[in-house]
Point group: C2
Chain length 490, copies 2
């Protein structure tokens, strides 16, 4: 993953308030109380009904390297408060300098389709540690999940065509680009233009030439011929620097020269104009010139919706270069992931006190207790998920949906989604090859009902709380509301 490529401690990659809260817990003697946090999201992105979990592997890598180095501690010692005095006492800084991450971490593996309110990551351990890591975990998981989901949507729209990720130039910074390339591959992209992502993650790399190649020559034909000389077996020409269909004719002319010399024209790329019309025109020219196998690649601000529309208009395109709208998740560039306290206890021998964050919007009220997700299958298809208290598995397929309705999931198989990733701070499941992550994603997406994946009016998968968890949550909400009316100020 990318983290090892930062030659820098990333312990301070967090919001200041995590460190001030940590300080408060330390001052209160609460730093070593046990806490359980979940990372969840509330609404699937892009108007869809699912997300593809991604970023857990990075998160575990981050946690496994978490350590404050002397320069981190020196920096924290230099911070002052509103009164100009040091923000933190030396004792706390010593605690941080000594800190070793000792939490248990469970994750839903990267590439798994997931649904609102499901814990993608569960962190349980000392309150101070579990709190500090909120921001980096959200940073890593929010963005990668968003890109993997977008890639899955784009690849589904492309059907049997393949999708190349071309987003580096518009990506949000260096590792915005690197982690987008990785997550896009997990979500189903066939390759990336990002050579460093190819080197670091083993993703296939693809690309040909730009308009500037054509502009560097006196005319387009000469430019294509020069490119064919350099890459006789890898000639795919960008044809729209001047007039697109003229460009296709020139590409076909060079294709004849290549063929005469025992080589082969790979294809052409369209990057502007009406891609539907131009692709059909290009296909005719290429077919008539004897190149029925030449590929037509299209790019230019594509996303799942434009690809879907172009294919419904019989565009003759089989390879899609998708850049900006994939790498930045243009139509929704942030997933609203949150990291909420679900339970706390004074020490290992005490009972968990379930915690809940209330909100006037019921969708924003968090679920209490340490949780697990049971995924129910029937005939190899996913029929729904049940979020339940960890250690209290559902007795049958009954769950309570977000609208309060009881729903029965009739299955013949079930799996628990959260898998152990760290125990007492040690990694217990090694990173898997990226192709395995990508295969998981493809396999599980195929097991989802088509209506859940649809671009048009998708239907939600039934996902609910186990009845016992639902009852506990309702009890906590009522209790908190009655506290509010009874409680008076001192």
């Amino acid at each position: 993953m990318t983290l090892q490529h930062f030659g820098q401690s990333l312990a301070l990659l967090t919001d200041l308030y995590q460190l001030t809260m940590g300080y408060g817990y330390w001052k209160q003697g609460m730093a070593r109380q046990s806490a359980v946090f979940h990372l969840t999201f509330r609404k699937p992105p892009f108007g869809g009904q699912y997300a593809v979990a991604c970023g857990a592997e990075s998160a575990v890598e981050y946690l496994s390297r978490l350590q404050f180095d002397p320069s981190d501690v020196d920096y924290l010692a230099s911070l002052t408060g509103a009164d100009g005095k040091p923000l933190f006492e030396p004792g706390y800084l010593e605690e941080l300098a000594r800190l070793e991450f000792t939490c248990d971490v469970d994750v839903i593996p990267d590439g798994t389709p997931v649904f609102p309110h499901e814990p993608l990551i569960r962190v349980s351990g000392p309150l101070l540690q579990a709190q500090l890591v909120e921001t980096p975990l959200l940073n890593l998981v929010n963005f990668q999940t968003l890109v993997a989901t977008k890639a899955a949507r784009v690849c589904r729209a492309a059907g049997s065509g393949s999708v190349l990720e071309f987003g580096l130039r518009r990506a949000q910074g260096i590792d915005g680009g690197l982690s987008a390339s990785r997550a896009a591959f997990v979500g189903g992209c066939a390759a990336t233009s990002n050579v460093l992502a190819g080197k670091l993650f083993g993703i296939p790399v693809r690309g040909t030439h730009a308009h500037s190649w054509v502009m560097a020559f006196d005319d387009e034909l000469e430019a294509f011929r020069a490119y064919a000389e350099a890459m006789p077996n890898n000639s795919l020409f960008l044809v729209d620097t001047y007039d697109t269909l003229e460009g296709v004719r020139k590409a076909a002319a060079i294709g004849q020269e290549l063929r005469a010399n025992g080589h082969r024209l790979l294809g052409i790329r369209l990057d502007s104009g009406d891609l539907g019309d131009l692709s059909r025109g290009a296909r005719r020219i290429l077919d008539e010139a004897g190149f029925p196998d030449a590929t037509i690649v299209a790019s230019n601000d594509l996303d799942e919706h434009s690809i879907d529309r172009l294919l419904s208009e019989q565009a003759a395109i089989t390879v899609w270069g998708v850049g900006t709208k994939l790498a930045t998740c243009y139509d929704q560039p942030a997933l609203g992931g949150v990291y909420k306290l679900a339970a706390i206890r004074v020490d290992e021998s005490s009972p968990w006190r379930p915690a809940i964050k209330l909100s006037e919007q019921p969708i924003k009220t968090s679920n209490p207790t340490p949780q697990q997700v049971r995924r129910v299958f029937r005939d190899g298809l996913i029929v729904g998920d049940i979020i339940h208290t960890h250690g209290a598995p559902p007795v049958d397929g009954t769950c309570v949906l977000a609208n309060g309705a009881h729903h029965f999931l009739e299955g013949d198989d079930a799996v628990d989604l959260l898998q152990p990733a760290m125990r007492a701070g040690r990694v217990v499941s090694p990173p898997e090859p990226l192709t395995a992550t990508r295969d998981r994603c493809r396999r599980l997406l195929q097991q989802l009902p088509a209506e859940v994946l649809s671009l048009h009016d998708p239907a939600p998968l039934p996902v609910g709380l186990a009845p016992s968890l639902h009852e506990l949550k309702q009890r906590l909400i009522q209790q908190s509301e009655s506290d509010k009316t009874q409680q008076d100020l001192p």
Copy 2:
């Protein structure tokens, strides 16, 4: 900057097609021809009329470190084409392994307000080198310019209030977050929550506590009291975990306790609900409790439009925590920056051949020849910019606007915006302190006419081509069109 914190060669942080084109140039013996490229954008982001240039300092740092290490070359040697044979000849890989960046680079300094079609960066030097760096320069400049611009807009909306950047958790990866924090500070933010950005860039860091702090205690009052004990002089309470105005009353109660012990309540933070109503209610409670100086901080999906609206409704908020919508540039997460060839020559002694990229959309037709931008001032205010051929300064204030109209900029002072950053690959202007960059941005924004900066129906600043450049461009367009009609296929 962040690049030094990557413990990894970033030479491969580019699109594959840059390397295949480089290969083509090398095979054609063109790799050492001289070329000039400009990095420009076509349309200001966010429906505004300006952008704040940012990313040039990172770009120069990137270029000054550009070198292919042995692992980069080994990786490139492993790439194969459609025929299964190596994509690149060993001679080219040796050329890359030996490559030292020797271009001249001129940049518009970070923090400068800029306008469509102005070259933010000009790279001139050997074609192979100047081509290879297209992708990383776009990656660095597109995103940082976008964030600095968004920050400038948000800070202008906040008026005399201050803006804190809170975006790390929703930012697009690790250095998506780091570079967003830096660019947001350049654009005018007062501080960030991102502690690592504080450490690396010297940006002030701010933050208090989260809902999870309150949830970790049996009740809210106890939670506030515990926080006040830890941070008696830095107590700013998040009051909306349960009932917001009740939370404000509890914060005021703890404020009394703090005062009794010789300390002081800093303020409160609102993070949900109707921020206008709640801030006025909170202000009344705080004033009545004797805390007229307590600050009211607001957060929750803010941007320049919501801040503008809240202030027009007399919201009692003076500090704005802006996260997602700033760090991801939510309403437009990509700037359409491009990097286009403007001129090429066979060797230093030949004349420049101006290059142009045509498009059916005139706005997408690039400007030819190496360029410079003259900014014209009158009475200390910016009246407009003239894009002209480098070395052929405008003879007077006449320029040709995008609509073809001639416009006269009457000024009493003028400066050239592009400044030398590298000569023959060596950095000639050292990085400046980030506060100097931020001061430049603030000063120059104050020199722009208010109607250019306005959120509502902003007016464009007059920016045009020098007449001689305009005429050359028209001539090249006509020439290319007549070539197209005359030229037939062989």
